[in-house]
Symmetry: C2
DNA sequence: GCATAAACAGTAATCATTACCAATAAACAA
DNA sequence: TTGTTTATTGGTAATGATTACTGTTTATGC
């Protein structure tokens, strides 16, 4: 009765996924748009946003929760940590992850604490060289 | 010769600071606007934004670096940790801070890692009761 | 091929924030 | 107290990121 909602593997969705997996950067929606447009010049920005959200929902990519005015996406879904450049917002991967301490002691009135994540901050090489 | 830029303690700036210090929530600029408007009905939203930035720059308040589409502010400048409700974005204080592990081992190609911060995520009571 | 509805391109609308500017008012000297 | 200077204000327009809408296209199953 209740029709299961299908998802179709469109050309656009596939290229977005491929492009995102082909880089180690953590592009914004707009940057993904730029990458994908080289292969599909007529794709629209709305399509990029829509597919990035759908791909994140299905677990094929990550929508990063880090601070900054633009959301960033990651084609690498294996658990790892990130650094964010405080000057330009660029995000990088942290190798040799730092072990997260035991969180169970965290008391926060009015909240149920579910998880914790280390947010690294720093400066990327590009910004450092501009110093 | 070069005239030192003065900062003036205006009525608006003072009320914003007082209101922010009077609550334990971590209001957005718009929420601060709502609070302040009860005492200064003619204040403009732009004034609120401008003063929140200036007060953060001078160290009188904190501009929180946490994720979410709206920036949040904190009148409590003593170091402490925060939880963010993943449903509504509300931010709360963590009592009994969790000790941050040694960060010096964090390697991130193309980045200079300067600091790390634990980002707690959870659900606030309001959202939990809506479950 | 044909039908169906998910997804698309293009564009308008929304939301948060910033920029602009003529008018106002802190701060300080006379 | 009054005047002068200029930081700050209110009001509004502009920007940037994202979301919503809509008629058309196209992936998918029969």
């Amino acid at each position: 009765m209740t029709q299961q909602q299908q998802t179709r593997m469109t050309k656009q969705r596939m290229v977005i996924l491929e492009e995102l997996r082909s880089v180690h950067s953590h592009p914004t929606a707009d940057e993904v748009y730029g990458m994908v447009r080289q292969r599909l010049p007529r794709i629209s920005l709305g399509t990029v946003y829509r597919n990035l959200d759908l791909l994140a929902e299905s677990g094929d990519i990550l929508k990063l929760e880090s601070a900054g005015s633009q959301k960033r996406f990651d084609g690498n879904v294996t658990p790892h940590q990130h650094v964010r450049c405080t000057q330009c917002g660029r995000v990088g991967d942290v190798m040799e992850p730092v072990r997260l301490p035991d969180i169970s002691g965290a008391r926060a009135p009015g909240f149920i604490v579910l998880s914790g994540r280390i947010e690294f901050e720093g400066v990327c090489e590009t910004c450092a060289s501009k110093n």
